[in-house]
Symmetry: C2
Subunit: 544 residues, 2 copies
């Protein structure tokens, strides 16, 4: 992101933003009684409250000796852009111009050796370090907290952007951390290969950021989560480098790769990862299916996962999300095309839509598609063709732009996600839905809560919630915190994980302790103390 162009208060770079679809405005008005005609845009960059840099001169000089004068930036656009990630609280703070906790400088090393030298300087000078890739964290992962340090830098990995090597025999690629996913895909595609990792943040997220946050992408049901792709990793910690061999499998003790994956910059900086890659698929096909209910669809998805009939992309919207997405699609939607009457006659009119996608050779896609469709039909599905699949593909990265529009118009909108075993999933869905509804409507406000299943595993699946309510100007953070706390408590109570693919960051720290217990946190703490004895690495993230 070019700091002078990026939407530091929102998503992406203008003019990428998209207007609110007509259907959405009507829905918010009719369904929730929200008047979204008034816009309250973000303050201008000049209006942002940005304190002077507190980076000590001696530390600044030492950093300049490592990365050069151009590698240490303290100007307003650079610091403001890196003052927050992209969670609702982040955007709220940025939009109102509160950058009081912005990093004191943005430091951009050019090599892994320079990363190590920067960490040496910071550890010696007591300067906190927040590794920064795409800055797309929605859980406070790049919040520039100082911990016990007097100042904090944002360590920007933008210059570590090479594909260091491709091993076409082993189908692996060594990729530096700062490379953005689209650039990684483009370079791999040129060699006939793909990483197959497409999170919603795809346009801006970096490879290293995905590894550090244990990311899953929209096609991870097929391609695997990022940790399934990691065969080797290099992580520079203040106490030394973890250089973990690229091997397909090993029984050499606890898997230290799995300690680095998901370490969120709290132990060190991941500078390079060796990842599995695959041949670019010759064909892609995405299709829609209808179910009579979310429960019916979930059971069908369980059958897919356990019978080995999974597609690469598998998403199932609940009744609420289905209703909203069909309303937004208007006369282009499935209901309009198939005819409401037909759907009603067959029992699908108030049902749920699923999107399935297959990628591979044309023959494989055909064979696998037939297998999935057969299993889904056996569990109650009605196939509704490729049109909903194509619509999903078109809009797959659009939601964060829409969120900016909604924030402009006084709507509180946030997402959260979890995963559980198939046995726990119905209780988890009900528990989180109820908790969100209770928290959001406590003051008599309207609430819209939607959910989808988006990642299938043999033992269980993920749930992704999106919720909307009327924002109370000046009290949005309290509203958000109440909903977030209620949902997170409900997740733990129902046997879910506090996060399936958003990571811990700062926001989930209290629930990690409940999920892995005191002994688990003490183990992570011991690791951090060993690898980062000065406590400068991303303070306040992952563990308290």
């Amino acid at each position: 992101l070019a700091a002078d162009r990026a939407r530091w208060w929102g998503w992406g770079e203008p003019p990428a933003g998209s207007a609110l679809p007509l259907g959405a405005e009507a829905l918010l008005r009719e369904d929730m009684g929200l008047d979204v005609s008034v816009r309250t845009p973000a303050v201008s960059l000049e209006e942002v409250n940005l304190p002077d840099s507190a980076l000590p001169t001696s530390a600044r000089e030492a950093l300049v000796r490592v990365v050069g004068e151009e590698g240490v930036r303290e100007d307003r656009p650079e610091r403001v852009l890196r003052a927050a990630g992209k969670s609702y609280p982040d955007l709220l703070r940025q939009r109102t111009g509160d950058c009081s906790t912005a990093p004191d400088a943005v430091v951009a090393p050019r090599t892994a050796a320079e990363v190590a030298a920067v960490l040496d300087v910071c550890a010696a000078a007591g300067v906190a370090v927040v590794p920064f890739g795409g800055g797309t964290s929605v859980v406070g992962g790049v919040e520039p907290l100082r911990g016990a340090c007097g100042s904090v830098i944002s360590l920007d990995l933008e210059h570590l952007d090479r594909i260091a090597a491709v091993d076409t025999r082993s189908l692996t690629a060594r990729i530096e951390s700062g490379l953005r996913l689209p650039a990684a895909e483009a370079a791999l595609n040129a060699q006939g290969l793909t990483l197959g990792h497409f999170p919603q943040s795809y346009e801006f997220a970096t490879v290293g950021g995905c590894v550090a946050t244990r990311s899953a992408g929209q096609a991870s049901t097929g391609y695997g989560r990022i940790e399934d792709m990691v065969v080797g990793v290099h992580c520079v910690a203040p106490a030394g480098a973890l250089d973990l061999l690229a091997v397909p499998a090993t029984a050499a003790g606890p898997d230290l790769r799995e300690l680095v994956v998901g370490s969120e910059g709290a132990f060190g900086v991941i500078t390079e990862t060796e990842l599995r890659v695959r041949p670019v698929p010759e064909a892609r096909r995405y299709e829609g299916f209808f179910f009579r209910s979310f429960a019916e669809g979930s059971e069908a998805f369980r059958a897919l996962a356990q019978e080995g009939a999974t597609p690469d992309v598998a998403r199932l919207s609940d009744e609420s999300e289905t209703r909203v997405s069909l309303a937004m699609a208007g006369r282009h939607g499935v209901k309009a095309r198939m005819g409401e009457a037909l759907l009603r006659r067959r029992g699908y009119a108030d049902g749920c839509v699923a999107i399935c996608g297959w990628e591979g050779s044309a023959k494989e896609v055909g064979r696998r598609r037939a297998r999935t469709a057969r299993a889904l039909r056996a569990h109650g599905a009605m196939a509704v063709g490729q049109s909903p699949g194509r619509a999903w593909v078109r809009g797959r990265y659009a939601a964060p732009y829409l969120r900016d529009e909604l924030l402009d118009r006084g709507v509180l909108v946030e997402t959260l996600e979890t995963a559980a075993t198939w046995s726990a999933l119905p209780g988890l869905y009900a528990g989180v839905s109820d908790a969100l509804r209770g928290a959001l409507t406590a003051d008599g406000d309207p609430a819209l809560i939607m959910c989808h299943v988006s990642h299938l595993y043999r033992p269980g699946a993920s749930l992704y919630f999106t919720f909307f309510t009327r924002a109370h100007p000046g009290a949005e953070l309290e509203q958000w915190r109440r909903a977030k706390t209620a949902a997170s408590d409900a997740i733990l109570a129902a046997g879910g994980t506090i996060t399936h693919h958003h990571a811990i960051g700062h926001d989930h720290v209290p629930w990690l302790a409940r999920e892995v217990g005191e002994t688990g946190v003490s183990a992570l703490r011991a690791l951090k103390d060993q690898l980062d004895p000065a406590g400068v690495m991303n303070p306040g993230k992952l563990i308290a």
Copy 2:
């Protein structure tokens, strides 16, 4: 194992031992010039040198208060059986009656709570604890080392032998650590389920032992390694319990499950694991294929792995192992059946045999078998039918019994294994073969070195070596150490992992440090210090 019946100096329980096949004796004589007619059996139990128990009376009394009088055993058969695992050095020591380092007592708690209480007693009294499941370690994993402690107990998990729960919707089972694999399979099979984990030590290995040592079984190409099956785990450490939620996937920081899996008792005692299970396969089919060379077969296996055409069992013997196994099979072997002349005419006479196995519904087995066979033929294979597959199934757990026979007859026989990316595999094969040959033949002795590929992954595969030479009575350990060191150095030099499925134990400790580096070892050390501050857990294993 009943201590009064088990072969404390070898494998299994009599009369399970099998005689040396006729072909083997001839091969050793003709091929290697070894006279294997003289037998030197193990000493009798009464002749074993077993020191008095050094367990302090106060510690003994405290342990009795936890597990009862019958739970603390100090008699000769019990202590001798748990004095060693099943590596070549272990058996050598046992056969000559050297149990000078036997555990001072065998303690058998009945519940996870009793395990915790035993650890409390031992931590307070400075008594070392060696968790003991099936006792089948071949890397010194159950060697009763005392570390800085004055005494050591073998913590036998035999009473933790229940399947605590089966979740048929999520297809997972919570299994206590001391349950042996055949008992686990029998109980699961009764519910129509299978774990699908069949290491060569299957008859005696426990579920917890497999998890603690990051085990892979003969069908793990299809069913996955043990870590791929773990969804939740409970580990009792002296500092507290790690109780890790059963979730299908999570982004909640570093994966602590992956720290417990492979921890080899050095952090704590795994008392229970929740594992993925699958429906019992309706059909099983195992077949043989011939390749003109190991290199050709390896390339064909790479194609299987990368084209998604893998069978569940996939093994490829090199030329040497093929020659030996055909000689042992004699007139029942493929060569005899197909006709040497035909094989020679088609170029396979000096080639390599592969075994592939498929399990699942009859339809799936048929479909997948056809796919594998098509891919193998495209890469040079000749299908040789089900007879070699059936022979492999019959003998799949036999090798350790044969080893006892060979040790009786003065043959040094040992195995070791590794894994690497497909790119590194040819160099690894050559490097380890050369290193072993050099070390074994340095004094003019004959050497037989065989190898097979047994686990396929998209980025690489495993290599499993078996080697034979004439044992020098009284100097066997030096011979062994020279070969082991040369092979291990060669593994690291060629980019392999020091172990693909045997674990670190005591024997691989020096090479783990080279594989994960000083920073990696320091991270493991920090974890151990946190979870086991008194340093009583399995001293000398995993890390020095």
